[in-house]
Symmetry: C2
Subunit: 263 residues, 2 copies
């Protein structure tokens, strides 16, 4: 295929992958920006191709990221800045993106030890929050993040970018509520929920295995999830202060409920 | 003054307040969006005027926010959507903003008990992160947030908005490094710093009073601050995962170092 045709083909794929349906149909996602591309390359996630601009190759870190891709056997297709920006999904494109394969892990196929440290995202709409939650879960040693309906697609480019590589350190999957509950029951993993009316997290003894559900900042957990939660936990908060950002709250709860934390 | 002249005057003030210099010269700031305006009204911070659109007044929560301002004796000037957007500093303006007085609290005037729970922001550039840090500090019972040079202005409209009312629950001020260190020494408050190479935070006993410094996600703490830190603390992290978002990391550290937390 000519250079031009190859470029056009991958530009079309990248543009198409801005839509969730296209990502799901092709089980592909886009990692955008130098840091995301570095992380996906390092993770050994299969990468189909990468798009880079000439400007990116003039930058030292950018050129190194492209060289690492080539060493991994990934074709780096050079495109113009204008073409790149038409395919990019972030506000300040850095001139590099990789088209990679979504590691498909249906909830029903996860092993009990993979479900033993799970963060459940219950209708978290904001992509930046979803990304930060995945990053936080990875840093704090969770093994799985499950996105329930109403949550931004975890393979959306903005989510992947704000997760700063978090996706490649744990299992990220989505599930219907019923399928999640079935899998947790089968694996004997209790489901706890974050809720302002719950028990103060610094007074509870965390179970050996745990799935923690966090909800939308405004609305809290959905009715279906609430009904399956065996323990609600809350943070000790200053009276009168409305709430914490959901990623900050989840970070503190996961820290407080970490493994081996006896009272 | 005619209605038109009053509107033009406050529109000019609001537009001017997008610049940090203008905020500092006039010691005024802009609270934008329904939630920020609700919080600033509730806080009894002196408000000079508010700008609202007709569209805002057609919304139930918007109309209630404007009514609360009027009850507090604040003039709500109605402007067109186009005029409002020229004065707004956020991406999706909601049609309401309040022009309020910055509570000026120079670092040298703070009492020892006000400095006893302080979060220090060391060159945190991103306004969203600064706002989330102020929100987090407020929720976790800190009494003061100090912005060091290189940090986004805490009275920037984007910061005020992402802090979700946090500014009105604690003291927010900026300071030069030397002035902060002098004030902490005088108040006998130790300065600790967040650093990946520090002692694991779950193994240290927090002092009764504490100032905690957090730095830029990439660069860490500045040399001047590092030199004055008496203890570096770190979070237990999964190996290979680069880092946490600065607001999430600060939230966990402030929780782990909260008052009365014995080991």
């Amino acid at each position: 295929m000519s250079r031009k045709k190859t470029a056009d083909r991958w530009l079309t794929v990248a543009r198409d992958l801005k839509r969730r349906k296209a990502r799901e149909r092709n089980t592909l996602f886009v990692a955008e920006g130098i840091r995301s591309v570095e992380e996906v390359t390092r993770s050994h996630t299969p990468i189909q191709a990468a798009l880079v601009t000439r400007e990116l190759l003039a930058d030292k870190r950018g050129a190194a990221a492209a060289a690492a891709l080539e060493r991994a056997g990934v074709e780096c297709v050079t495109v113009t800045e204008e073409e790149f920006n038409s395919a990019a999904d972030t506000k300040a494109p850095q001139g590099i993106l990789a088209i990679a394969e979504v590691p498909v892990r249906p909830i029903g196929t996860l092993k009990p030890n993979e479900l033993a440290r799970t963060l459940v995202l219950d209708a978290i709409q904001d992509p930046g929050n979803v990304g930060t939650l995945i990053r936080t879960a990875a840093a704090l040693g969770m093994r799985t993040v499950v996105a329930l309906p109403g949550t931004a697609d975890p393979w959306n480019a903005k989510v992947v970018r704000s997760a700063a590589g978090g996706h490649f350190h744990l299992i990220v999957t989505h599930a219907e509520v019923g399928d999640l509950l079935g899998a947790l029951r089968h694996a004997n993993v209790p489901l706890w929920g974050a809720d302002a009316s719950g028990r103060a997290v610094d007074t509870v003894t965390p179970p050996a295995s745990l799935a923690l559900a966090v909800g939308n900042e405004g609305a809290g957990l959905t009715t279906d999830v609430r009904g399956a939660v065996s323990e609600f936990v809350a943070l000790p908060m200053t009276p009168g202060v409305e709430s914490l950002n959901v990623a900050v709250a989840a970070g503190i709860l996961l820290y407080a409920l970490r493994e081996g934390q006896a009272r």
